[in-house]
Amino acid sequence: MSIDVEAVRARYPVLDRELNGNRLVYLDSAASSLTPEPVLAAMDHYYRWSRSNVHRGVYPLAEEATDLYEGARTDLARFLDADPRGVVFTKNATEACNLVAYGYVRAHLGPEDVLLSTVMEHHANLVPFTEAARAVGAEIRHVPLTEDGQLDLEAAAELLADGRVTFAAFIHVSNVLGTINDVARVSAMVRDANDRAVVHVDGAQAAPHLPVSVRELGVDSYAITGHKLLAPTGIGALVARPELLERMAPFLTGGDMIRDVTLDGATWNDIPHRFEAGTPMIAEAAGLSAAITELETLGMPAVRAHERSFTAALLDALGTVPGVRVHGPKDVDVRGSAVSFVLDGIHPHDVGAMLGSRGVCVRVGHHCTKPLMRCLDVAATTRASAYIYNDVDDLEPLVEGIEAAAAFFAR
């Protein structure tokens, strides 16, 4: 089943916009995806029809709001093949990573432990753990990369050899290199070296683009964000094994996350509610459900197949532009749809400004991956990242824009 891109595009109102008389070409979905009409409608319907709080009222509106919110939990669990009792809603993937850093790492690890990270991490999955490691006095080790931007698993085996790694946090799909890491394999390596080890994965760039089964990946927790998978901003999730959540300390405390409260203290609600203090993001949860329906209707294997062929065409197209150097794997079997490149002698800001003036939206900068930028020995890159509404007709405006930048900024 392939994707009918014209039919998909018709669902995204913003794609009707023109920029300086040019068709809008949106190639920045790794930063944030566009929002389809049904997601907007789901949020609108909640506010117009069912507006009330969750988990409290016993009148129909409140029951509807609770159904929307808890329904999103069930939908997300089904979408990621995970246990709904392990789905904690957060505001984004960064908060989901912090939940693990505070609830697990800071609560359970000490100076005898070692954390495993990698050089390709997004700051969201790096800084919470470097800070947590510092706080508990634990060592942190980083898996280096191979020449073509994949995790160096031989080096990883050496870092794991002494059996001291008790916590690992790494990214599923790199937001810069596009690399799809073999999560099941790395996770197994970590557990083989120490069967008590907990494995946390940043799936923010994977869940929107690949069929993901958290169960099959064999990880303990998996962070996602809604706004990269057609859902609104302001909702993400930690998708964890319930057993891990049971061991985690509360992170944010207050209303909704308690069982009983006295003036001296409190006991905690059951998981996952223990980690959701205060009134949650209800409209956003309704939007997330609608976004999941969009993706399930297309089918995640079809989404992946579409992006795989688009990425192959994108890599071919960039290969024709003099002075363009692409980072990350060349093999589209091990790369997602984010493609970072540099244009010889021209700063990415200038490339991005030229593309933007022609209606082509790309991301420029360090993409929240400063250690990776140092590893690649670049200050910044230009990144084109695709989704279901991109097609080969987006390549010509991109390539022409890059060529125009090369001519305009030639010295």
Binding site: H347, A353, H366
Partner: protein, 152 residues
């Protein structure tokens, strides 16, 4: 594109003035970086009789940051330190939408007035000027080197 990249700006970008990796008898060397876009700038000044006898810059960055630094050196060289600080402040206010008071003294720097309409590029245009201000402040503190990271 023409709103942002005026011909004067592109001229400075293609053939920067006073771009050099070192300076004889330098009084101060400051290093400024902007981690958000990866811009790096080294600015060196030589001070004779309370005036900027020489200003050179080096570094990496987008066309706006490099061209603005080049235009800045032209406008700053020869000025008394306090006068150069005043001019830098005029440029800074212009980047935040104010009409420049010293348009003539800014020289080619006036070409960057339109950058104020592109908020994300304002920091690029300011980088060289802020480095100059820091170099003079550093000199007046009696130091010869300073390093600054701009967070946005």
């Amino acid at each position: 594109m023409e709103d942002l990249y005026q011909e004067i700006i592109l001229d400075h970008y293609r053939k920067p003035h006073n771009r050099a990796p070192s300076l004889d008898d330098e009084a101060v060397h400051v290093h400024h970086s902007n981690p958000l876009c990866g811009d790096e700038m080294d600015l060196r000044i030589r001070v004779v009789d309370g005036r900027l006898d020489a200003v050179v810059f080096d570094g990496e960055g987008c066309s706006i940051s490099q061209a603005s630094a080049s235009a800045m050196t032209d406008a700053a060289i020869g000025r008394e330190l306090k006068d150069a600080l005043d001019l830098a402040e005029d440029f800074r206010l212009m980047m935040h939408g104010a009409a420049p008071v010293r348009a003539d003294d800014l020289g080619d720097g006036i070409a960057f007035e339109g950058v104020a309409k592109f908020p994300v590029r304002v920091k690029c245009a300011l980088l060289g000027w802020m480095a100059l201000k820091d170099a003079i402040d550093t000199h007046e503190r009696g130091s010869s080197a300073h390093s600054v990271t701009h967070e946005d």
